[in-house]
């Protein structure tokens, strides 16, 4: 049953001209903005988004309307950030949104800013998407020229300035307070919470940070209504999701499907199954920072927030990585542990030291220098990181590490060649020095 949805987020995906204002306007572009500004109050917009059940699509899945409601009513200054720092391994859907349909995100951002009374909006785009930064800037310029940005938008009295901000290569800037700090001119290190951004964020003022896909979903909700949106998805996971699919499947790419469809259907009907000569071994559903599912686990699960949580993983960013039988799981976890080691901001001790340590232990294991105790050590290091840090990056490293170890332990065990030396580890012979 093909439930492909192509008219909410992916309407103009793959087209050569979808980024142009003229095309966007001719295909109901900016009608939602007009409706919101002229027929709805900011509170009504927030209510609509809340009722539609739109959840944050960046990874946390927190209801967007609820987050908007945290902004104090009497705030004298509110800021809005569109999080286009997309760096979660396996995820490339925000890229598609901004590449093929930047105006959809811009319109969604303007409506969102109206809802929370923000007069300055930053679109934070990761620096590696330099080509996208230029593209989005051109779209923003078009929007200004057409009167959708600037003073007194569409005669509503609402002012909004929009700045396209270019990142410079740091995954941690995808964390909302890391992003805020980055725009303030600091390193993109997350802040301790409380205070929460909605109360005190950018320059100490109430701030909302939303993912591109979240913001891009807003025009449809406003234009077509809550019910139209809710006809897709499940009770708690309403609407559609953009799945980024990579790995050796026949048809990798970005797919918009209603939340809740079974993985099995998605895998066979949309992705065409594995390429010739490969079989499914495992699936990482939500970007690398979630627990891995074995092939059989994946085949039994539906693709929505609740079902995946119940299956012991997370929907996360929806960056689906298909792992074939030919893959070496320990090699893969080394790749992932290197990523977190590389990207840890270094602020808080458990993550800073733990990510480095996990990477080094796995690296040694793969070189045949590991001992049996190293497998327990990996678990212990994970326990020294989970729940003890400022931001969830520690979790992001721990979840793949622990789940790979739990579900593919024999592959780790097979690498153990040495017998454990006697006595405490600090007195074991030094062995080969690693630079």
């Amino acid at each position: 049953m093909n439930q492909n949805v192509d008219h909410i987020l992916s309407t103009r995906f793959g087209r050569k001209d979808g980024h142009l204002l003229s095309v966007y306007e001719s295909e109901e572009g900016y009608q939602a903005l007009r409706k919101a500004l002229t027929q709805m109050s900011p509170l009504q917009v927030t209510e609509a988004v809340k009722e539609a059940g739109l959840r944050g699509r960046g990874g946390a899945g927190f209801p967007a309307g609820v987050k908007w409601g945290f902004v104090p009513q009497d705030a004298d200054q509110v800021y809005f950030f569109v999080n286009a720092d997309e760096s979660e391994p396996g995820t490339f859907k925000d890229r598609y949104c901004l590449d093929y349909d930047p105006h959809m995100t811009i319109e969604g951002a303007i409506i969102s800013c109206y809802a929370v009374n923000a007069n300055l909006c930053f679109i934070y785009i990761r620096g590696e998407f330099g080509w996208l930064v230029d593209r989005v800037q051109r779209a923003v310029d078009e929007a200004y020229a057409a009167g959708y940005l600037g003073h007194n938008i569409l005669g509503s009295g609402f002012d909004l300035e929009m700045i396209v901000h270019k990142g410079a290569g740091a995954y941690i800037c995808g964390e909302e307070t890391g992003l805020i700090n980055s725009v303030e001119g600091r390193k993109g290190q997350p802040s301790i919470k409380p205070p929460f951004p909605a109360v005190s964020g950018f320059l100490g003022k109430p701030t909302i940070v939303n993912n591109v896909e979240t913001v891009a979903s807003v025009p449809y909700i406003i234009r077509e209504g809550v019910d139209a949106y809710r006809q897709y998805g499940t009770e708690k996971s309403a609407g559609t999701k953009l799945w980024s699919v990579s790995g050796p499947v026949k048809k990798p790419g970005v797919y918009e499907v209603p939340l809740g469809i079974p993985f099995r259907d998605f895998f066979y009907e949309y992705l065409g199954g594995m390429v010739e000569g490969e079989e499914l071994k495992a699936v990482i559903v939500g970007g690398s920072s979630v627990p891995v599912l074995t092939a059989s686990e994946a085949m039994g699960v539906n693709l929505d927030y609740e079902a995946l949580a119940q299956a012991g993983t997370m929907l996360g960013s929806g960056g689906m990585i298909i792992v074939p039988q030919s893959a070496d799981m320990v090699e893969l976890i080394q790749v992932l542990m290197h990523f977190y080691f590389d990207e840890s901001c270094g602020q808080c001790t458990p993550c800073r030291e733990g990510t480095g340590w996990l990477y080094k232990i796995v690296k040694r294991l793969r070189k045949g220098q590991g001992v049996q105790e190293d497998l327990d050590l990996l678990d212990q290091v994970c326990d020294g990181m989970s729940g003890l840090t400022i931001c969830p990056l520690a979790y992001a490293a721990v979840m793949p590490m622990k789940s790979f170890l739990e579900k593919f332990r024999p592959e780790f065990g097979a690498l153990i060649k040495e017998t454990t030396p006697v006595g405490p580890r600090s007195r074991w012979p030094m062995g080969e020095q690693e630079i």
Partner: protein, 180 residues
């Protein structure tokens, strides 16, 4: 963190860049917040951020030296030293890995005669590893400045290198024809 090696006479912005800098400072709510876009302005002009530019930023934005260097060392894209003419960054994260990034990297190392992380002696090519570039379904992928080269095969790599050796930057998979 490396000490920059080039010595320059003085740093200042030329007319157009000065105007762009002014524009940044006017739009961003604080001078401190103008730091990142200012660094990009400098780097896009000079290919890196020279130490004298750091002094200039400290003076003009009222930030500390330590702060500028924090940004230069924290963000991988900011460079404090002159770069090779073509810096090729190949993603080695999980999706690209599954699609054969390792062999692409090995192929590039062979063709260029350098290891990952090194620069060719003539300063023309540098080969770097990169974390996920957001092109996972199009992998393996390599970045050169603002261009992504996707769906890489050894043949495609060879074509790209041949073109670059002639100083022609081949059309990237991310380039679009603009219909204005």
């Amino acid at each position: 963190m490396n000490k920059p090696t080039e010595v320059q006479a003085e740093f200042s912005f030329s007319g157009q860049l000065q105007a762009q800098f002014q524009h940044i400072v006017e739009r961003y709510p604080t001078r401190e917040s103008a730091l990142m876009p200012s660094l990009w302005l400098i780097q896009e002009e000079y290919g890196y951020v020279p130490p004298l530019a750091v002094d200039w930023l400290v003076e003009n934005l009222g930030v500390s030296h330590a702060r500028v260097w924090e940004l230069l060392s924290f963000y991988t894209m900011f460079r404090s030293e002159p770069q090779a003419k073509y810096v090729l960054q190949v993603c080695h994260n999980i999706s690209c890995h599954l699609m054969g990034a390792r062999s692409i990297i090995a192929h590039l190392e062979k063709r260029l005669g350098i290891r990952l992380g090194e620069k060719t002696p003539d300063g023309k090519f540098a080969l770097e590893g990169a974390e996920c570039l957001g092109a996972c379904g199009h992998g393996p992928v390599m970045q050169l400045g603002k261009h992504f080269y996707e769906y890489l095969t050894t043949e495609k790599v060879d074509q790209i290198l041949e073109s670059l050796k002639k100083d022609i930057v081949p059309r990237a998979d991310t380039d679009r024809e603009l219909e204005e």
